[in-house]
């Protein structure tokens, strides 16, 4: 079968590639994808919790940790994925290209896996960079594509399990060279020819290559994670966010100008409408009398950046109790902003009791971009759900 290849058929001679190398990269990549899947599901839960299991308020840094891991891991996955694909590239040039129906199906499943993985990590990174050169709603497609990706990975692991077992048990330096000819058809392969000297690597060694790749990924993580691990901000050569440059030391994801609330939010006649069994209104003057609560809480964005901040404001629970609600009520907070999917959010359970209606941030009156005159802030809560520029609060039950 090997001899039938036409002369122009690509031949891969690098001894760096090996199932042992691929299996080791694949193991790291698999762990990364599992981490991404779990932290991703936790993030979706923030948006759509089950009624009987509201999002907890403790630990306050919960979402900061899980979403920080999600985005840092996602960024690291981009080079890991490319490395993994480099290591198996000759497999695409087996001859003949399609041997049987089974082989055709396997190749199709690999094509789906590769394309979905590439699109998933690319669009995820573009979302972190707030660039959307695609027409679909990122959140939904990212979520459902994740099911397709993880499903394809499981199938791929099932199909390749014998190769994975060989790759992980073989020593990196000695294992078969991976070329366009499968090892079991190659009489010269290490496994078939018996004990041979290690495949010579004239340049970098396989282990050296893995170390260099690990170092590269390490540099990427170290220089980008400062957007989440705030003390590392000065090292953040490749960090998308720079929390020190945000207004009042905190970045925002939606500015007052984007939300078109400038006039409504700065109006001296602004008041908060509280709707419940005993409805009432709070004016700007009322707010000043009731701002007695303080909390140190991180704001943690779905895009991975986060920063701790000192918040001051009213207790949401007290506002709700006055309107005739209880600590068990389900509450909707509504922004002055119109025409945006996240111009409102729901809060209940532990987060309701822990939440502030903030008027001050880091010792100053809230910046307009941070939601002046009044915003929600609650622990362990996705940033976008801490609704800004509040105009109305409803006790729903």
């Amino acid at each position: 079968m090997v001899q039938q290849r036409p002369g122009w058929w690509p031949r891969f001679s690098s001894t760096l590639r090996s199932t042992a190398v691929t299996a080791r990269i694949g193991r790291v990549l698999g762990i990364a994808i599992a981490l991404l899947f779990v932290t991703g599901l936790l993030s979706h839960y923030q948006y759509e919790p089950w009624a009987w299991l509201p999002e907890p308020a403790k630990p306050v840094w919960g979402y900061r940790l899980t979403q920080g891991i999600h985005v840092a891991t996602g960024i690291a996955t981009i080079p890991l994925l490319l490395l993994k694909l480099w290591s198996v590239y000759p497999n695409g040039f087996r001859f003949p290209p399609l041997r049987s129906i089974k082989h055709a199906i396997e190749r199709l499943s690999v094509a789906i896996l590769v394309s979905v993985a590439l699109v998933q990590v690319t669009t995820g990174f573009l979302n972190v960079l707030n660039w959307y050169p695609f027409p679909w709603y990122f959140l939904t497609v990212h979520r459902f594509l994740a099911y397709v990706l993880v499903g394809s990975v499981l199938l791929h692991v099932g199909v390749k399990l014998p190769d994975i077992a060989y790759g992980l048990s073989a020593k990196v330096a000695e294992a078969d060279v991976l070329t366009e000819i499968p090892w079991n058809e190659n009489p010269e392969s290490h496994s078939n020819a018996g004990t041979l000297p290690n495949p010579p690597t004239t340049g970098i060694s396989r282990r050296g290559m893995l170390t260099a790749a690990g170092a590269g990924v390490g540099v990427v993580i170290l220089t980008s994670v400062g957007q989440t691990v705030t003390p590392l901000e000065p090292l953040g050569l490749l960090a998308p966010r720079q929390w020190t440059k945000g207004p009042q030391g905190v970045p925002v994801n939606r500015t007052a100008e984007q939300a078109k609330i400038m006039a409504a939010a700065t109006s001296p006649t602004w008041s908060l409408e509280v709707v419940g069994p005993r409805p009432y209104r709070l004016t700007l003057a009322d707010l000043d009398l009731r701002v007695v609560h303080e909390a140190r809480l991180p704001i943690n964005c779905v895009e991975g950046w986060s920063v701790g901040a000192d918040w001051r404001g009213l207790s949401l629970l007290e506002v709700i109790l006055q309107a005739g609600g209880t600590a068990d009520s389900r509450i909707q907070v509504i922004s002055l902003e119109e025409d945006w999917g996240f111009n409102h959010s729901f809060i209940e359970g532990p987060q309701l009791s822990a939440a502030l209606l903030a008027t001050h941030l880091n010792g100053q009156r809230l910046d307009l971009d941070h939601g002046y005159p009044l915003r929600l802030i609650s622990p362990n809560r996705a940033g976008v759900l801490n609704t800004k520029w509040l105009g109305r609060i409803e006790v729903l039950s």
Partner: protein, 149 residues
């Protein structure tokens, strides 16, 4: 192992089919078609352009750079490529956002060059150490040979 393979395959196909079902039922057709286009383009860009370029660079290095120097050059290139993949989109998108978002404000082009420089200097130092070490060893061997004569 066989049982595991079957379990993994069935679980994978089920989860993947669920994802496809949700996509098809909840995403508008127009968006789905563009998504299909993205998936196809991603595969072509990688398999027809990026991966062959990697192979080509490796081939050129093997032809033109001596083994010892190539090792350090390969380490530097692998690290640089990994860093560049993350930096390049940010170089292009720098300054595209309102200031209050504190997003994409840094000079990622300069930062990438700085990282390239650090990677290059570290590898040059390691290369110099290797050259000296090889020379010292060759000298010791030469002396050993002459002494035994």
């Amino acid at each position: 192992m066989k049982a595991w393979r079957i379990i993994l395959a069935i679980a994978g196909i089920a989860l993947g089919a669920f994802g496809v079902f949700r996509l098809v039922t909840e995403i508008p057709t127009h968006s789905l078609l563009i998504l299909l286009l993205w998936l196809a383009v991603a595969l072509v860009l990688h398999d027809a352009i990026l991966a062959p370029s990697e192979v080509g660079v490796g081939w050129l290095l093997r032809r033109h750079v001596p083994d010892r120097a190539r090792r350090f050059l390969q380490v530097a290139l692998i690290m640089s490529a990994i860093v560049a993949v993350i930096a390049i989109p940010m170089i292009f998108l720098r300054g595209s956002q309102p200031a209050a978002k504190a997003l994409l404000l840094r000079d990622y082009g300069a930062n990438l060059i700085l990282l390239f420089g650090i990677i290059a200097v570290v590898n040059l130092i390691l290369y110099a150490v290797q050259v000296r070490w090889d020379r010292a060893r060759a000298l010791r061997q030469a002396q050993g040979t002459s002494a035994s004569r």
